[in-house]
Every structure is written in C-alpha cells, then in structure tokens.
Amino acid sequence: MPRVTFTANLQRHLDAPSLEVGGARVGEVLAGVFAQKPLLRSYIVDDQGRLRRHVNVFVNATMIADRDGLSDAVRPDDEVFVFQALSGG
C-alpha cells in the first residue's frame, strides 16, 4: 500500500504519523488517512476538500497537478509526502 508521510511541522499541532493506506488516487489515499485521523483533514484540505493553498503534496518526487480534485495516480509502492509550502510564511 502507498505510504503517506507528513511534514514534521504538523507535529506542533497534532499527531500526524506516517501511515500505510490503500488507494489509487491521492484523494483516496488521504481519505484513508483522515478516516484514521479525523482532525488531520482540515489541516491538509479546505472545507471543500481542496488541497490547502500553502500545503504541497508529492507522489514520490513529483508535485501533484490536481490540487482541487486530488486525482493524481498513486501506485501501491509509491510514497506520498505532505509538506507545508514556503509560500505560507
């Protein structure tokens, strides 16, 4: 299953451990994380499920293209990285 790793900066606010969750799209993988960590959801996506403006998601070394729909493909052996963007200050 894909492995999701979060920026260590999130640890200031809440527990965000690396998790292995199923899913073929970024949105499905993140939904699997949020099912286990409900409070984490609003830190990563906005009210409408879009990636927050100052959060970046990479599949392996590639930044995702679909920030609103989170439809970028994820393979079982991929790693998904959730970082804060430097644009956020």
């Binding site: 900066n9 200031r12 409070l39 609003s42 830190y43 990563i44 906005d46 009210d47 879009r50 927050r52």
Partner: protein
C-alpha cells in the same frame, strides 16, 4: 480588580496578570496567529481561534484557564459546495475566524463565530459542532459585499442583546450592519446613514457596501450602537437601524477600534489614525479619544502614552473597557500593551515587546 488580561497576538495567546505586575506568560499556541479569543462569561471556558499560515483556521477550547487546550472542529462550509458562492467563484471555505461571541445566559452552549468569507456560524454545544447561518449567507445582496483589508468580506462584530438573546447586530467589512430579532432565522439590513466615501456618488449611502470597522453596544442601553467606520465615527440609538455621523473629531475620525462604557451610552473611546491606507498616528502622536456626550465633543487622552513619535495601530478587537467602565486595555500592532485607568485618563505601558496584538480581553471574575 478586573485587571488580569488575555492578549491574543500574531505569535500566540498570553496572559498578563495583576495589571502587569508580572511579565506576560504564554497561555499556548506560541508562534501561531490567534485571530479571535473568547472567555465565555457563563462558564469561564476559553476559546482561541487560530489562523495557521499553512494549515487553516482552527479552534481550541480550554476548561482550566488555559492550562490545557483541546481542539474543536472549526466552523466550516459543508462539502461539497452545497452553498456555492454567489459571486460565481469557487465553493467557499472558511479562511479566518475573525470573532467569537457567547450567546445569552438563557442559551447555554450557544456560541457565534464570524468568519472570512462573510459567514456567521452558530454552535449550540460549546463549539463541538457548527452550523452555517443560511439565512444570512443566502442574502441576495451578499453578492455586493467585498473585502475590506482582506480579499474576502468578513464578519468581525457580533452583538447579542442582553435584554433578549435572540436579537443580534453584526458588522461586516464590507457588507454593512445586519440585524436579526429571531436568533438569526431572518435578517434585515440596518446601517442607514452610514456613508462610504470609497464608492461612486450614487452609492455612498448604500447600506449594503458599508465598511463598519467595528461595532460596540452599550450593555445598559443596547439600542446605542457605536460604529468606527472606515469613513468616520457613527452612532445609532435604534439598535443599528439608523446611524448619525459624528463630525469634527480630532485628530482623526479614522480608526479600527471602539469601546463603549457599559453603563453610559454617551461615553465611548476610539484610537485615531491617518486615513485611509497610511494608518499611523496623526503627526506620530499616539492618543486615544473619548467622548462623554454622545459625540458632541471629544477629549484627547495621552497621559502615559508615548511621548516620542510612535507608529502603533490598534486593531478592531484590541481595545476593551472593563465591566465597571473605569479601566481600559489596549494593544497595538507594534506589540505594545497598555492599561488605561480612570476611564483612559491615565495610561500605563504593561509591555512593549509582545507580538502584534489582535485582541485584548479582561479576565472575567
């Protein structure tokens, strides 16, 4: 003495105890912008809203005076966009919790939250869950609202009538003054008499697009609503339906904050600055103005305030008067904190090294 203060800042929440006898101490969220704070007078619980640069608007509650905090779900629009933005843009998402207010004593658990974009949210369970107040969000005239200081319009003032908790007056930058008499079920646009010099001549007096920087209601006479507007100082004596402009206010009628004496509706305080975008004290002289006659005249209060040139600016929620109407607290964007005794006639600097201050609040007994 009600001289213990809560201070919400760009870098966390602080307590300043004993009128500054002790150094400011962190009450949590060090490094994080605290956009709104509330001590619920009904149960003493503290609420802190955060505006995390990367991770959005957040809400926390403390039941032990700030020793520990637990995160609550923040007010949010229901996905996936069931209430699409009337401007034809993307479906809305809360970007800032700008103000928090407690309901009446007869409404246990009731909280109100004003946000960007300009939405009002209601909780009936001490912030555990939130509901969008649809009747305000669905006002057709909302498409006319625009941002003031921020990209989006926002609700910064929520006044609950102490005589009847169902009666609300709210202020929106820039969406005017709105009133409800039925707990937010229906709304009417008030603010007749407000004037917006930033609009074309035919729309100067349009209540829909006014920018009331801050509304403050006299607790003992809630029909009196003072308004520090983008274009001056206004007063209403009919609960926000109509306002009269106060003229000849020196050194300036521009500012963000207003505080009203809790027992005397004719007494109010303001912190003047150079309009519109400059926003520094007039001639570098940082002062407070006070009227005690309903705006017929103003005194300039400066004793204890900086004698040297200063650039302090006081935002909407960073001026408060205590329950006795005798002592004020004031915090600036420069990170200076003052206590003003004797109705603001005698100020004392409590700290000049805090982060930029967004809100001050006296600790309730």
């Amino acid at each position: 003495m009600a001289e213990d203060l809560f201070v919400a800042t760009r870098k966390g929440l602080f307590a300043v105890d004993g009128a500054g006898a002790q150094a400011p101490r962190s009450l949590g969220f060090l490094g994080d912008p605290v956009s709104a704070f509330l001590q619920d007078p009904r149960d003493g619980c503290l609420y802190a809203a955060l505006n995390l640069g990367h991770f959005g608007a957040k809400l926390h509650r403390s039941e032990d005076g700030g020793a520990s905090w637990s995160e609550l779900p923040a007010p949010a629009f229901a996905p996936p966009g069931v209430a699409p933005d009337g401007k034809g843009g993307k479906a809305p998402s809360v970007s800032l919790i700008w103000t928090l207010a407690a309901g009446g004593a007869d409404q246990p658990g009731r909280l109100w939250a004003g946000t960007l974009p300009g939405a009002l949210f209601r909780s009936d369970d001490r912030g555990e869950t939130w509901q969008l107040v649809d009747a305000l969000w669905n006002q057709p005239s909302r498409s006319e609202w625009f941002g003031g200081g921020y990209d989006d319009p926002g609700i910064h003032s929520i006044c609950v009538d102490p005589r009847d908790s169902r009666r609300l007056v709210i202020g929106i930058s820039c969406g005017g003054v709105w009133r409800s008499e039925d707990d937010g079920e229906t709304w009417t646009l008030g603010g007749k008499g407000l004037a917006a010099a930033y609009m074309p001549p035919d729309r100067v007096d349009d209540p829909t697009i006014q920018d009331p920087h801050r509304l403050a209601v006299c607790a003992a006479a809630p029909d009196t609503v003072w308004c520090q507007h983008h274009c001056g100082i206004f007063r209403s004596d009919d609960g926000g339906r109509t306002f009269v402009q106060i003229h000849d206010v020196n050194p300036s009628a521009f500012g963000f904050a207003v505080a009203v004496h809790p027992a005397d509706p004719k007494t109010a305080w303001f912190v003047p600055a150079v309009k519109d975008e400059c926003r520094v004290p007039v001639d570098g002289r940082f002062v407070v103005t006070r009227t005690r006659d309903g705006g017929a005249s103003f005194e300039i209060l400066s004793r204890g305030l900086p004698e040297e040139t200063a650039y302090d600016l006081v935002y909407r929620h960073a001026l408060e008067v205590d329950g006795a109407g005798e002592t004020l607290a004031m915090g600036s964007t420069t990170g200076a904190l003052w206590l003003g005794r004797d109705g603001g006639a005698d100020w004392r600097l409590l700290s000049s090294h805090l982060p930029p201050i967004s809100q001050v609040a006296f600790r309730a007994a």
